[in-house]
């Protein structure tokens, strides 16, 4: 046979959701499970009436039942206020996932555009973009969050939006912007001299035409891999900031603030208050990192992707 085998074009979906390793499959099922929890979260109490799972109002304290260990009534036990941890872990899924998603999409989207633009224009635009990235990334992520809260703390600029959540989203976006800028730029920089870009110029495409029609599609795989990874990373940041009391405040259910509630209890042996929400973070992050096609894509310190 001398003909070239017919080329099979795998859809984006197929490329993301099928992989050779079984571990990947497990992770992806896990991801859809977490996604499912995030969707049903707010209705968990009414769902509890139909199925035999003990769920409660995530915000109603039970003063007679504080810090009780896991049992048939409270699968994950209760915290100092007697709130049911099982219910709260589920309800918090949506909060963490949504904030991560919005923040990453916002910062990442802008970062992609800026990165593509920097790669296309090169020269001083590129230099300025790189220096900007360098400056932003020299602030440790959590301290950057801290500073944001310090700066925006007394200001009332978000109107009806929850102040803590808004600042969290801004923090996530700020962390992700340079990440995406850098990644997209590094993928595209070699393409600026590519002949198909020259060909597109000969075909009369302008700068944005090339960025939109050629650059971003070619960075798509990288962006997708980074997206899952940075969402995972964002969940950790949200939980971390809430753990030191910034962002989402108790008694609103959020994994980080729930761990904070249990932090002082754990030296006394009341492990369940912190352990279960922490486990939820681990599972979410683990399931999300399964989407990163290349495990070489690393988010290093300060979110430097290497």
């Amino acid at each position: 046979m001398t003909t070239i085998a017919p080329h099979r074009e795998r859809s984006l979906f197929a490329r993301v959701f099928t992989g050779p390793a079984a571990g990947i499959t497990i992770r992806r099922s896990l991801f859809f499970f977490m996604l499912f929890l995030a969707v049903i979260g707010p209705w968990i109490e009414s769902i509890g009436q139909w199925i035999p799972i003990p769920v409660y109002d995530p915000l109603r304290p039970d003063p007679f039942n504080p810090v009780s260990p896991p049992s048939a009534e409270h699968w994950f036990g209760t915290d100092t206020l007697g709130l049911d941890i099982f219910t709260r872990v589920i309800v918090a899924t949506r909060v963490d996932f949504t904030l991560a998603l919005i923040g990453v999409t916002l910062g990442g989207g802008l970062g992609c555009l800026a990165g593509a633009w920097a790669a296309y224009r090169r020269g001083w635009v590129d230099t300025v973009a790189l220096r900007f990235v360098e400056v932003v990334q020299s602030f440790p992520v959590l301290l950057l969050g801290l500073a944001l809260f310090a700066a925006l703390g007394p200001l009332d600029i978000f109107g009806p939006v929850d102040h803590g959540m808004a600042v969290l989203v801004i923090a996530i976006a700020m962390v992700n912007f340079p990440l995406y800028l850098r990644q997209v730029r590094s993928v595209l920089l070699p393409l600026t001299e590519a002949e198909f870009v020259q060909a597109a110029k000969c075909a009369g495409l302008g700068a944005w035409g090339i960025v939109w029609n050629h650059f971003l599609p070619n960075a798509r795989g990288q962006i997708l891999a980074l997206f899952a990874l940075t969402c995972a990373y964002a969940i950790q940041i949200i939980a971390g900031l809430s753990f030191i009391g910034l962002g989402i405040e108790p008694p609103n259910p959020e994994w980080g603030s729930m761990i904070k509630t249990g932090a002082t209890l754990i030296v006394q042996g009341h492990w369940w208050v912190s352990v279960f929400p922490g486990a939820a973070i681990v599972l979410s992050v683990y399931s999300l990192t399964g989407f990163s096609v290349r495990s070489e894509t690393v988010i290093g310190p300060g979110g430097t992707s290497t």
Binding site: M1, T2, I4
Partner: protein, 336 residues
């Protein structure tokens, strides 16, 4: 050391003993998208001191042939059949230590991309000295002296300056001469050259090629030179092999291959090379085969103008036409 062209003599003295002999060498590389078979039965003999050229298009298995001689396989690759013999001993049975002393001191290689074949972090001197010392027991002083000499041999006007340089400070032609120096420093009996002049300017190509040939013959070493360019090969090599789809389909003395080749592919290639004004340029219809399958029948038959019924039925016969002229084709020597 002149070598006769009478072919393999049975009771050979050392001069006529085959230096290197490949017979039926097969290589398989396992890739993510399935196995690839770049070599599918390569036969080749090299005698001491002679220059042999291999010509083939991209994907014909030229580079892989050189790598199989040194047993340097890419990840996932393995020699899955045939024999590689050095002075009658199987190279495939060498253990790690033997392999290390075989590489370099017996056979050394010159790479296609001269700059990336040099370690970017080490000076030219360090690299030549290391190659020299790896193959001969000598002190640093001798090695440094040798490094200077070999660079002078390779027509570097100021060896001391070049020795202190790093690879990125060399031009393409200079880097390729440093690569040649490295191979010579090992003191091998056979030098493999993988398209050593392809990336160079035309006017530089010939210089480097001639230099290579002169230095190799001055050291009584043999040279196995591969290229996609028949003209480059014919400038240097006395015997020329034509590769197609992982096999040497025709092998013979330079004059025969250049003027009257027997294999239809070799003829077509010559036609393609010689463009004549006023005539439409020739080409070979069809595509180069992909090496994802193993060919039991002739791999060229779909593009061949002399295709016969037997080509689709029987495996290729080997014709020995004398004077080491060898042919893999159903047509045989007798046609037109």
């Amino acid at each position: 050391m002149p070598v006769g062209t009478e072919g393999v003599s049975i009771n050979s003295d050392t001069a006529n003993e085959t230096l290197l002999s490949l017979s039926g060498v097969e290589v398989t590389i396992n890739t993510i998208s399935g196995p690839v078979h770049p070599l599918q039965g390569v036969d080749l003999d090299v005698f001491p001191g002679e220059t042999v050229g291999l010509v083939g298009e991209s994907g014909s298995g030229k580079s892989m042939t050189l790598r199989s001689i040194l047993r340097l396989m890419p990840p996932g690759g393995a020699i899955t059949g045939g024999a590689v013999k050095w002075l009658g001993n199987s190279v495939l049975n060498l253990d790690a230590d033997e392999l290390q002393s075989y590489r370099g001191s017996q056979v050394a290689m010159i790479y296609q991309n001269p700059v990336s074949a040099l370690d970017p972090m080490l000076s030219v001197e360090r690299q030549i000295v290391d190659a020299f010392k790896a193959n001969r027991e000598n002190s640093d002083g001798v090695a440094e002296e040798y490094a200077r000499d070999v660079l002078r041999d390779l027509e570097f006007g100021n060896p001391d300056v070049i020795l202190k340089r790093y690879p990125h400070q060399l031009s393409g032609g200079m880097a390729q001469r440093v690569n040649i120096a490295l191979a010579l420093a090992c003191g091998p009996s056979l030098i493999l050259a993988d398209e050593p002049t392809t990336g160079l300017d035309m006017t530089t190509q010939i210089r480097v090629l001639d230099l290579l040939e002169r230095q190799v013959s001055a050291r009584n070493a043999a040279l196995l030179f591969i290229s996609h360019d028949l003209r480059a090969v014919s400038r240097v090599a006395r015997n020329i092999g034509i590769m197609y789809a992982g096999q040497v389909v025709e092998f013979g003395p330079r004059e025969r291959i250049l003027t009257n080749p027997s294999h239809p592919y070799a003829r077509a290639l010559l036609e393609c090379m010689n463009l004549r004004t006023g005539e439409r340029p020739r080409s070979i219809p069809g595509l180069v085969p992909q090496m994802t399958e193993e060919y039991n029948l002739c791999a060229f038959r779909n593009r061949c103008s002399s295709r016969m019924a037997v080509c689709d039925e029987q495996p290729l016969p080997v014709h020995n036409l004398g004077e080491r002229h060898r042919l893999l084709c159903h047509l045989g020597p007798g046609h037109d």
